[in-house]
């Protein structure tokens, strides 16, 4: 799931750089940093922890939830790591930078906050076993990767959710080696797409008990995009049948690169190479001077899949240091379900 490369935001926290590079900064070379190798075996629990020799890395949770009031909610919890140099060190001058994003989306509102920290001083970090990922008071912590407690708070929201894995980890691409462009850029990428969720959202109108499903993505790399790729559209969908689909579309100057994984209810994964999935915007929304597609047609002929995807709240724009669209979606058509959509490069 290469599309979550917001991480380089961290490289852009200082203004000016942001303007100069934008998302294209993800396409810069990997000099001095480790590069993913095809055929390498993922090691657990070690690989749940950080990989400081790689330039970017993230722990990315999205969840589709239903409140006691019967309404749909979505939450996001993300911890990004960005390395200025390929090592870690103690103290303020550690070259490892961390950024957290957390959001709650309702049909009517979108609450969002962000956090920054550097490595080396204990303000943010990840340990593999027992598992703990944190930045300030935001945390994803558990005895192991299957049983997690997820917390975050912003100026207008807090949430506290318990996650319980109901299936195995899923490796994308070739046993976790996920190709991102025709030129061969790649990342290590695995997911836990089936956490059952129970917990509470605390919103301005009061606390709301919720239940639902969460999807966790783990990805790390050093040079995940090719030079001409400027943005992406990424989908994680859970169908009522129990099947799941991860798919993304990278927008290059002249062509699109698509990829994905089909996951059966028991966790069997089938990689979907370039061109197998097609995603077409069908409706656009204009807000704050940006034009963002909020409805899509997604087709996967191999699985007789032809679905309409529409945003729960078209205003799920993450307008902070680094702006992108991320929010829950509904799925209708040949398959019914819910999911999450992320779109970058539209600002």
């Amino acid at each position: 799931m290469n599309v979550r490369m917001i991480l380089l935001v961290l490289l852009m926290v200082l203004p000016g750089v942001t303007n100069a590079q934008g998302f294209a900064g993800l396409g810069t070379d990997a000099e001095g940093f480790a590069v993913p190798k095809q055929g390498a075996q993922l090691q657990f629990p070690q690989d749940h922890g950080p990989h400081p020799a790689f330039r970017v890395e993230w722990w990315y949770v999205t969840a589709n939830l239903t409140g006691a009031d019967g309404r749909d909610y979505g939450i996001q919890w993300t911890l990004f790591r960005s390395a200025l140099r390929p090592f870690d060190s103690k103290g303020w001058q550690s070259p490892q930078l961390w950024m957290g994003h957390a959001a709650v989306t309702t049909p009517k509102a979108h609450f969002f906050d962000e956090r920054f920290a550097r490595g080396g001083i204990g303000q943010a970090g990840v340990t593999a076993q027992p598992f703990e990922a944190w930045i300030d008071d935001w945390q994803m912590v558990g005895p192991d990767f299957d049983t997690l407690n997820l917390r975050a708070s912003g100026a207008e929201f807090t949430y506290d959710l318990d996650l319980m894995a109901t299936g195995p980890l899923v490796a994308h691409g070739d046993r976790g080696y996920s190709v991102k462009s025709a030129a061969g850029q790649a990342s290590y990428y695995y997911s836990q797409p089936a956490y059952q969720v129970r917990g509470t959202l605390d919103l301005p109108e009061g606390p709301m008990p919720v239940t639902g499903w969460a999807w966790l993505d783990r990805e790390w790399s050093s040079q995940p995009l090719s030079e001409d790729q400027s943005g992406w559209d990424w989908f994680s969908l859970t169908f009522d049948s129990g099947d799941r689909l991860m798919a993304f579309r990278l927008r290059g100057e002249s062509d699109l690169f698509t990829s994905g994984t089909w996951i059966t209810p028991d966790g069997q994964a089938t990689p979907l190479g370039n061109g197998r999935v097609t995603a077409t915007p069908t409706e656009w929304n204009e807000a704050h001077g940006r034009r963002v597609p909020i409805s899509w047609q997604l087709q996967l002929p191999d699985k007789d899949l032809d679905v309409q995807i529409s945003a729960l709240n078209p205003a799920a724009w993450m307008g902070r240091t680094f702006a992108y669209w991320e929010g829950p979606v509904r799925v209708t058509g040949s398959h019914q379900g819910k999911g999450y959509l992320e779109m970058t490069g539209y600002d």
């Binding site: 490289l11 203004p15 000016g16 303020w92 920054f116 303000q123 300030d136």
Partner: protein, 804 residues
């Protein structure tokens, strides 16, 4: 047609170039002094705003550990509890040419620092450079040069947004440069705290949150200084407008026949009014532009001294460099336009309503412009009363200035009545017909001259008042220095270890050693320095106590009581009999209050043995050394040699006193300069008034001349008249000036600086000033007198032939 009218109107200025020059200089002078003061104020304010913005010191709360620096663990605890804070590390950095303030801020938590934003907008600085070793330093141009000249420092980036004299950098870089990299001076509480974060005392008991108002003290101090300057600027502006008023009145008066002719030729009054208005505004813009240029030079010349004053008095950071701001230009020109309009409104109104065929009466113009003399005096008294009521009802600097303004304006309005009474008295002493005529003539001229004389009164009073204040202050200050700086030599050690060695060495090489040890803590949200002193007759005999009493030092030395400085006493209204509680929780009764000029912060003195009770590390690096004066040089040299001390570590008393006096004198150089300028403008106002009156003088002089008084005599009498009026005004300015001085010393100073000064009078200074005023009046009268002297007798004869 319009062209012809314009030519006709303009022809007046062609015939009277001097008048044009006077008008333009009037507008220019008014604008110049006003805008100079504005430029200085704006520049200084921009500098403070800058300094405050760097840490949003003015708007964001801080969290500190009252016991000393914070630890990284405390920071981490705060963060893990959800508190959004940015860590700050402050220290002093030794660079080429001295020590500078180093400000290390966590740039990642606080990326919106203006200095960083500015630099990155222009140069695109990369996070990798700023955040990882060796890091980057940000400083203003001048300091950046010094930093680059210092070996082993990180690369330097110039930024105009960094406070003057400060090096800004990331906290990581600051830790590397200052040592103890995990140490944090304090944290800034960022906006947008998350929902439901636990309270501070639950997270990190012992840490204290300090609200942003803590820095307000400096702001109000500097505000007072700027208010002071603004008052001066307004005074000069008003004085300049007197000139404009006089000149415009004259010009319109002289153009009456022409306007009558134009109207008789069929030019509508509306068109004439419009054209005259345009003419005035064009002149105002030209004069205003000249004034701005002049103002820029004046401001440029004064700003370095203002900067020195602000730094010396309040520790407020101000650069000595001036930038031209569009707002400043706009407000300067606006003031010129408004001022000209105000000063010429009356003349303009009269002219535009002049009946078509009226015969202009020369005397009538001036008489009508002035209200009844006694009415003016009544409103003057009213203004004075209003000022007094304000100061009785309200506290604060603004009330003090309201009193000042009421006093000055009121006195100015009373001036014509007082002068006319004085002239009446003078008239009674007249022995001859001629002298009786001179007195009567002066009284007749009074309405036309009264504005200029008011300007002179204000300028003189300001001079006497401010002069008295400064001189009183200086006398008190030097006396206080003598009391306060009693040790012959002061030494500062590098650290406590060296301090101990020096103390031992000195005990064998000097009469007595007085350790100077201090703790910085907080009292009522403001910093306070608590000094520990050993029992020594130096303190008992010399210390400048404002509230001397029996046994004060005995109580202090036994640890039973505390001494506080005047600033702290006045600010918190604490006096002997009250008590002070200092953190963590030690209470001492106040035994006495001592004067502490030039220090903006609160200070207190305790017995040395009391300091350890506060539980803070007490540095032991500074000592006062008592020596016979002739041994100062040799001992200093030996000390330096024995401990390899840098030049700044040893200060001898004589040197320190000289430097303090120098700073003091610089402080008031601005005030002095503005004083002289105001007086100059007042002199110019007299000059223009006399010139204005000149044309109306002939009908009055001609009969006297016809009766046999020579032109030479008449010219002499003209000069005499000018000097007598100036002398009478000076006489009246003296009590006003002294009243002003009293208000400055007893009201304004207490509000602005926190101390009250005894008033000393300097009659010799007044004599000098009086002579200066008379000289000014004499010079102002010279040109009209010379004209009279050279006037062809035929002109005087014509007076009888003409209708006018």
């Amino acid at each position: 047609m319009t062209r012809a009218i314009v030519q006709a109107i303009w022809s007046h200025w062609r015939c009277h170039p001097l008048q044009l020059a006077t008008l333009l200089s009037g507008i220019a002078l008014a604008t110049a002094l006003w805008s100079a003061v504005q430029a200085i104020n704006t520049e200084a304010r921009a500098n403070y705003a800058n300094a405050a913005q760097q840490l949003a010191a003015g708007s964001l709360d801080r969290i500190v550990d009252p016991l000393g620096p914070m630890s990284l663990a405390q920071y981490r605890t705060l963060r893990r509890a959800g508190w959004q804070v940015a860590a700050v590390r402050e220290g002093r950095l030794t660079v080429a040419g001295g020590r500078v303030d180093l400000l290390g801020v966590d740039l990642l938590s606080y990326p919106s620092l203006p200095a960083i934003t500015e630099v990155s907008d222009v140069q695109g600085i990369a996070p990798i450079d700023a955040l990882t070793a060796p890091g980057r330093l940000f400083a203003r141009e001048v300091l950046a040069k010094r930093l680059r000249a210092t070996p082993d420092l990180p690369p330097v980036i110039e930024s105009t947004q960094v406070p003057v004299g400060t090096v800004l950098t990331d906290i990581g870089t600051a830790g590397a440069l200052l040592g103890e990299p995990e140490q944090i001076s304090h944290v800034v509480v960022l906006p947008n705290q998350p929902k439901g974060a636990p309270a501070l005392d639950q997270v990190t008991p012992g840490l204290r949150r300090i609200s942003a108002q803590g820095d307000g003290a400096i702001a109000s101090l500097t505000d007072s200084f700027h208010l002071n300057l603004t008052a001066f600027g307004l005074l000069s502006f008003a004085v300049g407008l007197f000139i404009v008023h006089g000149t415009v009145g004259l010009a319109f008066e002289q153009r009456r026949p022409m306007i009558r002719t134009l109207r008789a030729l069929g030019v509508p009054i509306r068109q004439l009014r419009r054209l005259l208005l345009v003419e005035l505004m064009v002149l105002a813009l030209i004069g205003g532009t000249l004034g701005l240029i002049l103002g820029l030079y004046v401001a440029g010349a004064l700003l370095p001294d203002v900067a020195a004053t602000l730094r010396g008095l309040y520790g407020a950071p101000v650069d000595g460099v001036l930038t031209i701001r569009p707002v400043w230009v706009a407000s300067g020109l606006g003031m010129a336009l408004i001022g000209t309009a105000a000063a010429s409104g009356q003349a303009f109104w009269k002219l535009s309503r002049m009946p078509l065929l009226s015969t202009p009466g020369a005397r009538a113009w001036f008489e009508q412009t002035q209200g009844s003399v006694s009415q003016m005096a009544m409103s003057g008294l009213g203004l004075i009363a209003l000022g007094m009521v304000t100061v009785l009802l309200a506290d604060g600097l603004i009330a003090g200035f309201a009193l000042l303004a009421g006093l000055l304006m009121g006195a100015a309005l009373c001036l014509p009545l007082l002068l006319s009474r004085l002239l009446n008295i003078g008239g009674r002493t007249a022995g001859s017909a001629l002298s009786e005529w001179v007195w009567a003539d002066m009284k007749a001229q009074l309405p036309g001259l009264s504005l200029a004389l008011m300007a002179l009164l204000l300028a003189m009073a300001a001079n006497i008042g401010v002069g008295t204040m400064v001189s009183s202050f200086r006398l008190t200050f030097t006396g206080w220095l003598d009391q306060r700086l009693t040790s012959e030599l002061y030494v500062t050690a590098r650290d406590d270890t060296q301090g101990g060695e020096i103390e031992l060495w000195l005990s064998q090489h000097s009469d007595r050693v007085l350790p100077i040890r201090a703790l910085e803590m907080e009292h009522n949200g403001a910093p306070i320095f608590v000094y520990g002193v050993v029992d020594d007759r130096t303190y008992r005999t010399h210390w400048p106590l404002l509230t001397p009493a029996q046994g004060v030092w005995g109580r202090v030395m036994r640890g039973e009581a505390i001494l506080i400085n005047e600033q702290m006493a006045r600010r918190n209204n604490l006096w002997p009999g009250d008590s002070v509680t200092l953190p963590p929780d030690l209470t001492y009764p106040i035994a006495g209050v001592y004067s502490d000029y030039g220090n903006p912060t609160a200070q207190a003195i305790l017995a040395m043995d009391e300091l350890p009770r506060f539980g803070l590390p007490v540095p032991n690096t500074r000592f006062g050394i008592r020596l016979p004066p002739d041994r100062v040089g040799p001992v200093a040299q030996e000390l330096r040699g024995a401990f390899d001390l840098p030049p700044g570590a040893l200060i001898d008393q004589a040197n320190l006193k000289a430097r303090s006096i120098e700073i003091f004198d610089k402080t008031f150089v601005v005030t002095g300069a503005l004083n002289i300028l105001t007086l100059g403008v007042a002199g110019f106002a007299i000059f223009t008034s006399l010139l204005t009156l000149w044309t109306q003088r002939l009908p009055q002089l001609a009969p006297v001349w016809a009766m046999g008084v020579t032109r030479r005599q008449l010219a002499g009498l003209e000069l005499l008249r000018s000097v007598i009026l100036a002398a009478l005004t000076t006489l009246l300015a003296l009590p006003l000036g002294l009243a002003l001085a009293w208000v400055l010393l007893a009201v304004i100073n207490v509000e602005a600086f926190g101390w009250r000064l005894p008033m000393f009078v300097f009659p010799l200074e007044w004599a000098k000033l009086g002579a200066l005023a008379l000289l000014t009046a004499l010079v102002a009268g010279l040109l009209p007198a010379r004209r009279l002297l050279q006037l062809p007798p035929s002109d005087l004869l014509k007076v009888f032939a003409h209708e006018r």
